[in-house]
């Protein structure tokens, strides 16, 4: 979780460092919109701890935490975010389009796009007789899209090895769940499709770890899909530059930050010392710094290459 947080913190800093004017998202070394995942680390870490190289993840527009937790190379990912030829997509995708075939990792800026894709991956895994699983990740707002319901229906009907992860960070951009959703519980919706659905409260990484472990075990054993809704926290804006004037919970955000909260538990229980936590943070900082340097040092694509490696 610390590694992810240090990464996002540094990207935050670098993203804003050369935006001039500040509202021009195309300006600076990191072009385009930026959706950072600070606060949502427990979801990625608790789930990905159960996944291996052959397991697939489809992530949404806020993908960095799941990418890093699933083992996507930090250098290649950072170069992609910077639009460099050494990036995962040779600099043509940007931060919302990270595709890593080696780790079966993909993400998309199209809301709920990853749900049916995960079903397709899971169908292939099942037909090949493997024990691999596909994990579809999206936010609670995405669960109001038709693709979500179509995917749940197919996954349940075909008993696919899919784990649907809903990151409920309370805000679908600026819309609270209760204002847009007749049934506010996605665990309820899972039950409607005949698959187990659970909700993990309080952004608790240990609780996510246990629930995800049980869901992955079920899928690998051929017991079919599961849904886990994780009540998590969007520590920062929907995108970088979001003033969050709509947000009514900002005064409690700091106290709900999962990293200092979990660090305090680990120290209190004698699992880690403050010095060890500092070391973890320093190690992460060094890795992140190297990735940024690698990206900045990498070339940008040539205009003549614009039509290479694209199919549409």
């Amino acid at each position: 979780m610390v590694r992810i947080r240090q990464y996002e913190s540094r990207i935050l800093q670098e993203y804003h460092a050369d935006k001039s004017p500040a509202w021009d998202i195309g300006a600076g070394l990191i072009p385009g919109e930026m959706h950072l995942s600070a606060g949502q680390e427990p979801a990625a870490v608790g789930v990905c701890a159960h996944l291996g190289l052959g397991d697939a993840i489809t992530a949404p527009h806020r993908p960095h935490h799941f990418a890093l937790a699933h083992g996507v190379d930090m250098n290649a990912m950072t170069a992609e975010i910077y639009g460099r030829t050494t990036g995962l997509c040779k600099g043509k995708g940007g931060h919302m389009h990270l595709f890593d075939p080696e780790h079966h990792f993909s993400c998309s800026g199209i809301i709920a796009q990853g749900y049916p894709v995960a079903c397709g991956q899971a169908l292939a895994m099942k037909k090949r007789g493997t024990d691999r699983v596909a994990v579809a990740v999206a936010g609670e707002g995405a669960a109001n899209q038709g693709a979500f319901h179509e995917a749940l229906n197919l996954a349940a009907l075909w008993e696919l090895p899919v784990i649907f992860i809903i990151e409920d960070n309370d805000w679908a951009i600026s819309v609270p769940r209760a204002d847009s959703t007749a049934n506010t519980s996605n665990a309820d919706r899972a039950a409607g499709y005949g698959m187990p659905g659970v909700r993990v409260e309080d952004n608790d990484v240990e609780a996510v770890f246990e629930a995800a472990g049980a869901a992955v075990d079920r899928a690998r054993a051929g017991e079919g899909p599961s849904l886990i809704e994780i009540h998590t926290l969007r520590l920062w804006g929907h995108f970088e530059g979001d003033a969050q004037a709509y947000r009514t919970d900002l005064d409690t955000v700091d106290e709900r930050d999962p990293i200092p909260r979990y660090a305090a538990v680990l120290v209190e229980n004698g699992d880690l010392t403050e010095a060890q936590i500092d070391d973890i943070r320093a190690t992460a900082d060094a890795e992140v710094d190297a990735a940024i340097q690698h990206a900045i040092a990498s070339p940008t694509p040539e205009p003549d290459d614009a039509l290479d490696h694209v199919f549409a």
Binding site: D170, A178, N183, S185, D188, P196, E201, E206, A214, N269
Partner: protein, 387 residues
């Protein structure tokens, strides 16, 4: 005199935990909960309640209830008011809401949740009677009761008229002390192996080393079934039970410790817990689970102590309340009292009867009519019923 007010705590998160994955826990949807709340509100109105103070949430209960309350069909409901308080989506919401209800002078608090929700409410409810409707996964503390009936009972208790004396009693509780930390259990305290609190729920009976029980019913689901299969102890009996697991195993039982979860449990010893007598946990280290929820870790130098106490929350037996209300004329118009019939204060449908059906209301109803039927009701002579 103020308006008759009842508090309502509905846990939006109940029946959503990991036991749907590691056991066969069912789902109590938000709409199921709203349906029960609707029934409850109708029952509360029927019981004479004028105002309801409810806990707010952000998970669909508050929004749903407000919408339902605005419909014409809700015209007869009590006035519905949500407590002004921050909503964090944690047990702290329940605690705060209960405190506010007690401060507001509610005559009863209705709890929709599981053992865990009742435990939090009981920590702040003081002398206010609790009416518990189970919306949890595997609950031992709330007894089965239909929500409309629960509303009637809560209303009658809030208005009193003798219902409180006749239909409530103090439950037992287990008080767990660990350093400065004090927790209470309404059903069980389990000491298990492991080093993390995790998702809270306990589903691997093989990890449980010790179990302390307020009561042990043979037909229970959950950890208390372990005691129930060994040595039944009723809710109204003074003692409790302590069970130790592991070697040397003197008996093996197969209790249902969760929904669809029957596991062999090797028992080393059982002891009766004496009220007000602290016992120290034997295990050198482990995790303490209270009412089926892992809460904290301990080590060899800070082992918790556990004390059975008779001063738990005041709980309502809907059957006893309605029996009293019926036999004293509270349910009839015009209100009229039987000349000799009185509700038996000792009737307790929550104690397991010999035949194993602890909700045999017909039995108690028969007994209270021994002195004659309600004078407002003409009871036909059975011999005169045409066939």
């Amino acid at each position: 005199m103020g308006r008759t007010t009842v508090g309502v705590v509905a846990n939006p998160a109940s029946a959503r935990d990991v036991r749907r994955l590691v056991a066969l826990g069912g789902t109590m949807t938000t709409h199921d909960k709203l349906n029960r709340l609707q029934r409850l509100l109708v029952g509360l109105a029927g019981g004479g309640v004028e105002r309801v103070l409810a806990m707010p949430d952000r998970s669909g209960i508050t929004v749903g209830l407000r919408r339902l309350a605005a419909r014409p069909s809700a015209a007869s409901w009590p006035e519905l008011e949500f407590i002004e308080q921050p909503v964090g989506g944690t047990a702290a919401d329940t605690r705060r809401a209960t405190e506010a209800m007690v401060a507001a002078g509610v005559g009863a608090i209705v709890v929709l949740g599981g053992d865990g929700t009742n435990r939090i409410v009981a920590g702040a409810s003081g002398d206010v009677p609790l009416v518990s409707i189970s919306t949890g996964t595997n609950n031992a503390f709330p007894l089965p009761v239909e929500s409309t009936v629960a509303g009637l009972a809560a209303g009658l208790v809030a208005r009193d008229d003798g219902c409180r004396r006749a239909g409530t009693h103090r439950a037992k509780q287990l008080v767990v002390r660990h350093g400065s930390r004090v927790e209470r259990a309404l059903v069980d305290v389990a000491i298990s192996d492991g080093d993390r609190v995790g998702s809270g729920a306990v589903w691997d009976g093989g990890t449980i080393r010790e179990l302390y029980l307020c009561f042990a019913e043979p037909d229970a689901i959950g950890l208390s079934a372990i005691g129930g299969h060994l040595h039944p102890i009723g809710r109204r009996e003074p003692g409790g039970l302590a069970v130790a697991m592991g070697e040397p195993v003197v008996a093996t039982i197969h209790p249902p410790i969760g929904p669809g979860l029957v596991q062999p449990i090797g028992v080393r010893s059982i002891d009766v817990l004496v009220p007000d007598t602290p016992v120290e946990v034997r295990a050198a280290s482990g995790v303490v689970a209270i009412d089926g929820e892992r809460l904290f870790r301990f080590g060899s130098d800070d082992r918790p102590t556990i004390t059975l106490r008779p001063d738990g929350p005041v709980v309502v037996s809907a059957a006893s309340v309605l029996t009293h209300a019926s036999t004293t004329g509270l349910l009839a118009t015009p209100a009229a009292r039987a000349t000799t019939a009185t509700a038996p204060a000792s009737h307790d449908p929550t104690d397991p009867p010999p035949e194993g059906n602890h909700h045999d209301d017909a039995r108690s109803a028969r007994s209270v009519h021994r002195d004659g039927p309600h004078p407002a009701v003409r009871v036909p002579d059975p011999a005169g019923v045409p066939r």
